[in-house]
């Protein structure tokens, strides 16, 4: 075997894709447009610093919460929690079969798949507050419209996330299930579900946390929970009361996060 005396010719540097510079140009254009006064929102950094002075008295009031207001907030906080729990159970429960219908691994009918995915896209495209507004218009204010809004929001979030997880499962157990004569439901239950269960629990707990935060927002439109209290006080400019509600919300969110970590470890 003769040794090579001439090394291979050096390769030509591949031409860089146009996509990245193009992307950057588009990005800069969009940003400039968004910031400008005519087309966009007119973000003015200097003006903001002036404004800070204006906001001072309010911020000072916010920094000293009116604790005597606390008892009145307990009821709404509990309602927020209840809304989040009920919406999570129903929403995540429905999302499980829907996510199987939206994944090409578990659904073989192309029409069904297409329809499910697009219905999901539309459901996800509507913000939860918009749902709440519509439901409030349909049944009046209270926690019920909030729960319904959260359910739809949950289904959108969890079904999409879970269907993407299902798309990526190991197909081996599915083949084994089919080969043993099991029907589709059984194959999905025993071949797919065990693979995605930890993800499902994580997504559900995540959605629950989102629900807690969201229910404050839904309160603006009258859909129950601590949000209603918060906005009522806001409209009356009772900033010290507002800050009590905010502190409570923060405590609740942190507590929920801790509980959900505990649950995640136990359930899976």
């Amino acid at each position: 075997m003769t040794s090579a005396t001439r090394s291979a010719a050096r390769p030509v540097k591949p031409r860089p894709s146009l996509l990245v510079p193009l992307g950057i140009v588009v990005f800069l254009l969009l940003t400039a447009a968004s910031l400008s006064k005519q087309l966009g929102i007119g973000l003015d950094a200097a003006g903001l610093i002036d404004d800070l002075g204006r906001g001072r008295p309010i911020l000072e009031q916010l920094a000293s919460p009116n604790w005597s207001y606390l008892p009145e907030t307990i009821g709404p906080m509990i309602e927020t929690f209840q809304m989040a729990v009920i919406a999570s159970i129903i929403g995540c429960g429905v999302a499980l079969p829907v996510s199987f219908m939206a994944s090409r691994v578990t659904t073989s009918g192309r029409v069904g798949l297409f329809v499910t995915r697009w219905v999901l896209n539309v459901v996800r495209a509507i913000p939860d507050v918009l749902y709440a507004m519509i439901f409030v218009a349909a049944v009046g204010i209270g926690p019920l419209p909030g729960i319904m809004a959260l359910i739809l929001f949950n289904i959108g979030v969890v079904a999409k996330l879970l269907s993407e997880t299902v798309d990526g499962v190991d197909p081996g157990p599915i083949e084994a299930g089919r080969a043993s004569g099991a029907n589709s439901f059984q194959t999905v239950r025993w071949g797919v579900l065990p693979q995605v269960l930890p993800h499902y629990v994580a997504y559900s707990l995540y959605t629950f946390e989102l629900n807690i935060r969201a229910s404050t927002v839904l309160g603006i439109v009258g859909a129950g929970g601590i949000g209603r209290t918060l906005f009522a006080q806001y409209k009356l400019f009772h900033w010290s009361n507002v800050s009590v509600a905010i502190v409570e919300l923060f405590v609740l969110v942190v507590a929920i996060e801790a509980i959900s970590i505990w649950l995640r470890r136990r359930l899976v």
């Binding site: 992307g23 969009l30 940003t31 447009a33 968004s34 910031l35 966009g40 929102i41 007119g42 973000l43 003015d44 903001l48 800070l52 204006r54 906001g55 309010i58 911020l59 916010l62 309602e79 209840q82 009920i86 159970i89 691994v105 578990t106 073989s108 896209n121 539309v122 996800r124 495209a125 509507i126 913000p127 939860d128 507050v129 918009l130 519509i134 349909a138 049944v139 009046g140 209270g142 926690p143 019920l144 798309d167 990526g168 499962v169 190991d170 197909p171 599915i174 935060r213 404050t216 927002v217 603006i220 439109v221 918060l230 806001y234 919300l249 923060f250 969110v253 942190v254 136990r266 359930l267």
Partner: protein, 291 residues
């Protein structure tokens, strides 16, 4: 072992392991759900009214005279403003969350600093954008889109900061070691050892955050922070359903378009960083297996 010996004198069957912990957790969850469902102040008869009410609204929005087409212009420009608010907010979030994320990562900065920053991020994340807008930015910047963009921006720093920190904590230490061994400074280690590994995933997070922020900014108009939220509230609360129908369609179509575009870019970025690996992992479809 011969055939005869297996069944009769073989290994004893193991006992079923205790599932106590799991069952306790499940029971606790079930109890909470039952409590919530039973004690909530909801009139179930309203549920029936809900279906009727929804049908009526749907009818008046889309079927009675069709959605109000004269309203498209107004809705569109409001939606564009919402998108711009989300865009600026996401950029603010992205720019600041990158360094913050680095400092919040346990494997980059010391425990005390990273813990402190993590707590701060959690605090910011706990509040939905609309609360931040209402409570901080509208008082400061007044009503209008600036407050909205800032609220979204600050909240995004919280979420993106935490996600960035988690991605950074999950890296392969190999390349980092390599740069250090080659004599790189602290900044160089971050730039060449850490950043190339995490950038695709982080950019994907930024895009996903943008999709979420679109929804948040659509809402912000409800409290006067600019965008289509104001229109939605005015039309729905005052029963102007044909106009509401138009606005609703605009929101849904615009959101889906942004989602699709953003999703496409996200997938290209992730695929670019993983390349052939993804092809090999592509699962078979149900159709292939079901036959």
């Amino acid at each position: 072992m011969t055939a005869a010996a297996t069944v009769a004198g073989g290994t004893p069957r193991p006992a079923r392991p205790s599932q106590l912990r799991r069952n306790v957790a499940l029971l606790a969850v079930a109890a909470i759900v039952a409590w919530a469902a039973l004690t909530i102040d909801v009139d179930l008869s309203k549920l029936l009214r809900l279906v009727g009410g929804l049908a009526r609204i749907f009818y008046r929005m889309f079927l009675e005279h069709g959605p109000d087409l004269t309203y498209v212009q107004t809705s569109l420009s409001a939606m564009v403003q919402s998108i711009e608010i989300a865009w600026v907010g996401t950029i603010i979030g992205a720019i600041f969350s990158l360094p913050v994320g680095f400092f919040a990562a346990k494997n980059v900065s010391s425990g005390a600093i990273s813990n402190g920053i993590r707590v701060a991020l959690d605090a910011v994340r706990a509040f939905p954008e609309i609360i931040l807008a209402v409570v901080i930015f509208i008082p400061i910047a007044g009503l209008g889109p600036e407050a909205g963009a800032l609220a979204i921006g600050i909240h995004s720093i919280g979420t993106l900061g935490k996600l960035t920190a988690e991605v950074i904590e999950g890296i392969d230490p190999g390349p980092v070691e390599a740069v250090r061994a080659a004599g790189g400074t602290g900044l160089q280690v971050q730039r060449w050892g850490v950043l190339p590994q995490v950038l695709p995933e982080i950019v994907a997070f930024w895009l996903y955050r943008f999709e979420i922020n679109i929804r948040a900014s659509a809402i912000l108009g409800v409290v006067g922070a600019g965008g289509i939220g104001f229109i939605l509230q005015q039309t729905i609360a005052y029963g102007r359903f044909p106009k509401a129908g138009t606005a609703l369609i605009v929101v849904v179509v615009a959101t889906i378009l942004v989602d699709t575009a953003s999703g496409w870019v996200r997938r290209r970025i992730i695929e670019g960083s993983q390349g052939a690996q993804l092809e090999a992992l592509a699962p078979t479809t149900a159709a292939d297996i079901a036959a």
